[in-house]
């Protein structure tokens, strides 16, 4: 596992968010999103909102869109299940929602408690009417987030990019 801190793809994602004029960054932190969250905190044009549960972010960004702000929701795969009923808001109101999910429990996971949501994030999001884009190669993250952002904001639609554990490396807690 290479150190996430030396990776450049979080910077690529940040760039796509800037290009898309994304203003509200709602998140429950994950180690995979750590550098991106730092960059967003430093931006003068972005408002970062740490949530208590991921579904709050779905509602928050619906309000943002009503007020003319674009947003993004950052979470790890375990948060996907928390969003399901709230996603009816996005769907029924036909609002944009860009979600960036860093995967756990998907590939080489040591913690079995992450596996149920990790294995089911994609089908669950699909069942909830969210367009999903799985990305396994770090060189394809930028174009994938770009494509998802376009379909979210031009749709308008809910679109989620699932960033594989192959890219993030499996967490081991030294084991």
């Amino acid at each position: 596992m290479t150190s996430l801190a030396s990776e450049t793809w979080p910077q690529d994602i940040y760039q796509v968010l800037v290009e898309n004029r994304v203003r509200q960054i709602a998140y429950i932190p994950d180690i995979g999103h750590a550098s991106l969250i730092k960059m967003c905190h430093k931006s003068d044009n972005m408002k970062t909102v740490v949530l208590t549960t991921e579904e709050e972010g779905v509602a928050l960004l619906a309000g943002a869109w009503l007020g003319g702000d674009r947003g993004v929701l950052l979470m790890q795969s375990s948060g996907v299940g928390n969003c399901i009923n709230m996603l009816s808001l996005t769907r029924v109101c036909r609002m944009p929602l860009l979600i960036l999910v860093t995967m756990r429990g998907e590939w080489g996971e040591f913690n079995p408690w992450q596996v149920p949501m990790g294995q089911n994030s994609n089908p669950v999001l699909t069942a909830a009417g969210v367009l999903t884009f799985m990305v396994n190669d770090k060189d394809r993250i930028k174009e994938t987030v770009k494509a998802a952002a376009k379909m979210a904001f031009e749709g308008p639609a809910a679109a989620a990019v699932l960033i594989s554990q192959r890219i993030l490396g499996a967490k081991t807690f030294g084991r």
Binding site: T52, G57, L60, A62, G63, G68, D69, N85, M86, C93
Partner: protein, 201 residues
């Protein structure tokens, strides 16, 4: 649990909402699902109302996102005790963001009104105003009589927030006054009224 208490509360929800919205000026209003959405609609349906028909627990975070996007406009969230209980964490998020333009009003009849008037936790003594205060929302109050309600009206409309008011209202069955139900229509009419016709492009 006290099943009788809220049947004799003096404040009536329809009048409370009507008075709160009488001088709403250019405020943006989010209504939680169920009775609060009907109350807001009974006070007058306008494009700058966003009544929810679902998304339980989402009224406060939705109001927060709107308040952050529109810092020069007053945002008023009017919701019920059951809806608020489902999204208590959002009060902590509001306190952390401290949007000065956000006011939250809970119409607390201690009941789940749309499902058969079953008691909520507030009938068992859970104090939403105290939860909001402990979360760190700077101005919080619980109101249960007409005199204190009168003093709260200008605060809801103008005082620097975020503010949270829990208003104890009588448990009563009232005629339904339904807003439009199509979410895409509610969203588009709101955005066009607020942002102009270009918002639809």
């Amino acid at each position: 649990m006290n099943p009788e208490r809220s049947k004799s509360y003096p404040l009536r929800r329809r009048e409370v909402v009507k008075e709160l919205l009488a001088q709403r000026s250019d405020a943006l209003v989010v209504a939680g699902l169920g009775a609060p959405a009907w109350d807001v609609t009974a006070a007058g349906d306008t494009p700058l109302n966003f009544p929810l028909w679902g998304a339980m627990g989402g009224a406060v975070p939705l109001g927060l996102g709107l308040a952050l996007a529109q810092p020069s406009r007053r945002v008023l969230v009017i919701t019920g005790d059951g809806e608020m209980l489902m999204g208590l964490g959002s009060l902590a998020t509001v306190a952390t963001q401290r949007p000065p333009n956000l006011a939250i009003v809970v119409l607390d009849n201690e009941r789940y009104g749309e499902t058969g008037m079953q008691l909520t936790h507030t009938a068992g003594g859970v104090d939403l105003g105290a939860i909001a205060a402990a979360s760190g929302i700077p101005i919080c109050n619980t109101v249960s009589d007409k005199k204190s309600f009168k003093s709260v009206i200008p605060q809801v409309q103008k005082e620097v927030g975020p503010l949270f008011f829990n208003i104890k209202v009588r448990a009563e069955d009232l005629p339904l006054v339904l807003p439009p139900k199509d979410g895409a229509y509610l969203k588009d009419r709101f955005r066009v009224a607020l942002l102009g016709i270009d918002a639809t492009i």
